[in-house]
Each structure stands twice: as C-alpha cells, then as structure tokens.
C-alpha cells in the first residue's frame, strides 16, 4: 500500500483530445459549448450508428460489426461511394470516442465534459500518413496543408451534432450553443 497519496494531476477528455490534436499534424480540432446536459450530449453521440451518419454528411452508413467491452469495430460507407467500405477500430468510453481506420490513415474523435452548468464537446478529424523517420517532416508539412479543408468539415460536424442533440430533446430543454475555440 502506498503510504503517501501524492497529488495527482489529471486531464479531462477535452484536454486529452487536444493533446492528440497536437500530435497529429493533419488534424482539425474544435470545441463547442452547449447549455445541454452532458448526459444528453453523450447519449446522442454514443449511439454511433445513428449519430455519425446524421451529423457527418460524408458518411453514408455506420455499422457496428463487433463489440468487446469498450472496443468496437465499425464498418463505414461513404455517402457518395456506398460500395467503398472502411473498417474503423473504436474505443468508446463515457465522454470519449476515438476511432481509427484499420490502416491508420484516418482518425475521428469525440470528447465531452461537463463544465459547471454547461457541456463542452470536442471533435477531431485527422488524416494520417505513417512515415519513416527521414520523411516525417515532409509528411507533416503536407498533412498540415491538407488539414485546412478539414477544419470546415469539423465545424460542420459539430453544428450537425448540436442540431441532432437539440432535436432529440423536448423543445423546452434545448440550450444555447456557442463557439468555444
């Protein structure tokens, strides 16, 4: 038994996702604040099969094909090319969802945390190109360029998410939303 309980600093899910955003040069990351309760927001997000296609216009279908505890495997089709399928490994925990494509080329994340009376929601999308040591700077520069259009996409997804959460609630309980960062 440890006789001294040392003070422990912890990062909330939003801050943890911001660390991953820093680590991925091809990422777009945004945080929104809403007056809706955390439970309502997360209940909406964790229903991935319904939430992802409704908030992301690029996604046609999102189907969970395997699940062991908090680890899922999802088959995703694009709305424009329904014959093209992607497999994603998903880690789904309360307030945290991290999805990575099987070949590690794309990552999608959602995080939510209660902030007093409001809820903060973060969304990340990233293009990833595994690179050898000698090419990492070059690849990072290219990914940074490619990430600019992703920023609009992530902002659009968050808008869709907020609309979806609000629509899933009785009208008297919907809260105001505001950009946080």
């Amino acid at each position: 038994m440890t006789p001294v309980d040392w003070p422990v600093a912890q990062l909330g899910p939003i801050e943890r996702m911001s660390v991953l955003a820093r680590a991925l040069p091809g990422s777009a990351f945004a945080v929104r604040r809403t007056g809706l309760p955390l439970e309502a927001v997360w209940t909406y997000i964790e229903d991935l099969e319904r939430a992802i296609p409704s908030l992301d216009a690029v996604v046609g279908t999102f189907e969970i094909i395997d699940r062991v505890d908090d680890r899922l495997v999802a088959r995703v089709t694009a709305s424009a090319w329904s014959r093209v399928r992607f497999l994603f490994d998903v880690r789904l925990e309360p307030g945290w969802c991290w999805m990575t494509s099987r070949r590690g080329m794309y990552a999608v994340g959602f995080a939510a945390d209660s902030d007093g009376e409001s809820t903060r929601v973060a969304h990340l999308e990233a293009m990833c190109i595994p690179a050898p040591r000698w090419a990492r700077r070059l690849v990072a520069a290219a990914l940074l360029m490619l990430s600019y259009p992703l920023r609009h996409h992530v902002a659009s997804d968050l808008e869709g998410l907020m609309r979806g959460v609000a629509d899933s609630r009785p009208s008297s309980e919907t809260g105001q939303t505001a950009a946080d960062s």
Binding site: P3, P7, V8, A9, V139
Partner: protein
Amino acid sequence: MASSGLSIRRPTEPLRRVGALVRVSSLDTAVVRRAQGGDPAALDLVVRHLLPYLGRICGSIALERGEEALQETMFAVVKHLSALREPAALQGWAKQIAVRTALAVSRGPVPSPVDPQDVMRLVGVADNTTSVDVREVLRGLTPEHRAVLVLRDLAGAPESEIARLLGVPVGTVKSRLHRARQVFRSRWST
C-alpha cells in the same frame, strides 16, 4: 483537473520505498514506434500510458497548477516524440520533460511558497489525526524541493539521476531531500 481531498497517512515504512510501488509497466516498443510514425491508435495508447505516471509528477511538483503542467508536458511529449531515438526510454524521457515543465509552471506568476516552519505550525495545530492535507505540506516546499522529493520518493530515481536532471550537484540534491523529508517527518511526529 487536480484531484481534491488528498491526504497522507502515517507511513509504515521509509518514505523512499514508495517509489518502487508506483512504477508503471513499460509500453510495447512497437507501439511507441508506431506512435512516432504518426499512427493515431498508437498515439492514443502512448498518451493513456503516460498520463497517470506524469500526472503524479506534475501534480506533486506544480500542485494547483498540476493540470496546466501536465497538459504542457503532454504537448511537449507528443511534439518531440518522433525525435526519441530509443522507444524503451520513453518513460524516463517523458519524466524529464514533466519535471522541467512542472518546475517552470511552478515558478510562474504564483504566490511565493510559504516557509516550511509556517506549514509545520499550520498543520500541527489542534490536529491529532493521522491524516493531513499532503498539498498543504508540499506547498511549504519550494518547487525545487518538491521536485527532488517527487523524483526520489515517488519515481524512485537515484540521486545522481536527479542531479543530472535538475542540473545541480549531488550534494544539493541530498540537502534538498533532507530538508523536504524533514518537513514531512516533522508533521508525522506531531
């Protein structure tokens, strides 16, 4: 978020043995290499692996600013991860970043640490319980003293490594450690 309600209990063994109890298992070097190459799933694993360990270091040195120190540490770790030549050295390398970052954050624009004598007097007043707020005791130390105490008693680092990490002579490490432990022992003996 820094946790609250932290306390120390009267130790049943020398403080310096604590370090061995909080060592974390090493991460598969293949995972670290994948993370270095930008694999997002591996990056998530690396971050998950490091957070509890670095959280103790940052929390114990930077106290109320522990979360800020931890986030800055993690930013630095992931930013420079690809430059780490030996994946097996991840934890020790990250520990160095955490200590330096936590010290820098602690030295920021915050009130000066109070005199250890004041803390001893504070915590010694009308308190016969076996539990006190460990933050209160640590707050009585300078960030440098906290860093030495944390590295020796929490991380189990040898004095020579602490000296190298902090850029001070081994003698300074010993004297800082002695003074830091004095504060704790003074509290426990009341």
